[in-house]
Amino acid sequence: MRVPKETAATTVRMSVVLNSSGRVGGAFKPTQYRPAKESDDQVVTVSLEAGPGQSIVEVEVPAEMADLEADELISRLAEHSSIRAAIANTPTASQANWVSSPGAVTALPFGVSDQERAGISAGQGPSPFAQSFGSVGIGRAGTVTASQG
């Protein structure tokens, strides 16, 4: 079904991986699941969990960023204020020499429980971020769902 232009999504939620050096090491956004066989109707859900020394930041980014090449995407994510704020507020990332900017993201140490992860949120108080790129949360896991197509 064609989505009218005026109602098309302008942002997408993306999980950004910060490595042990406090740098952007990757990102992920959900897309629709395409079953290999028509008879397969099971919904597949995928989640990304931080490895040793890593953190995951969930952000809202302009939809067009999802079409960038990998190197450019990582570069642009690293430059954005919300990611920098997350890095500044992340214990493991504080070792890196990043310019800090005020942020409302909540940084959690590793070892948080699933329940704590589920409650992770950001944007407490006035958001310093542009509306087109808002920080959603930071923690050890970035749960994303690939819904059935």
């Binding site: 490595n19 956004k29 190197d71």
Partner: protein, 85 residues
């Protein structure tokens, strides 16, 4: 069952950027399942290892894999895989 084109990821090269993924089929047990990373950029190579399966306390089942970019540049990727049956 098998699947392809699940998700859209980006990963930088190096072990420090290895990503831990888990996949669930609604929590149901689908026996032996394999998860692979499908690189989308020419020249890119992604390695998967640490394939594992967890039976959670509530009886649900989760499958896990670690993805590492063993190339020299960042690449986009998605997930593909499925069972052996």
């Amino acid at each position: 069952m098998s699947y392809s084109g699940v998700g859209f990821g980006t990963i930088a090269p190096g072990a420090q950027n290895a990503q831990n993924w888990n996949i669930s089929y609604g929590g149901s047990d689908h026996g032996a399942q394999s998860i692979h990373a499908n690189p989308l950029n020419p020249g890119a190579t992604l390695q998967v290892n640490n394939q594992r399966k967890t039976r959670n306390n509530d009886g649900s089942v989760t499958y896990w894999v670690t993805i590492t970019n063993v190339g020299s540049f960042s690449t986009n990727f998605n997930l593909e895989g499925g069972g052996y049956a």
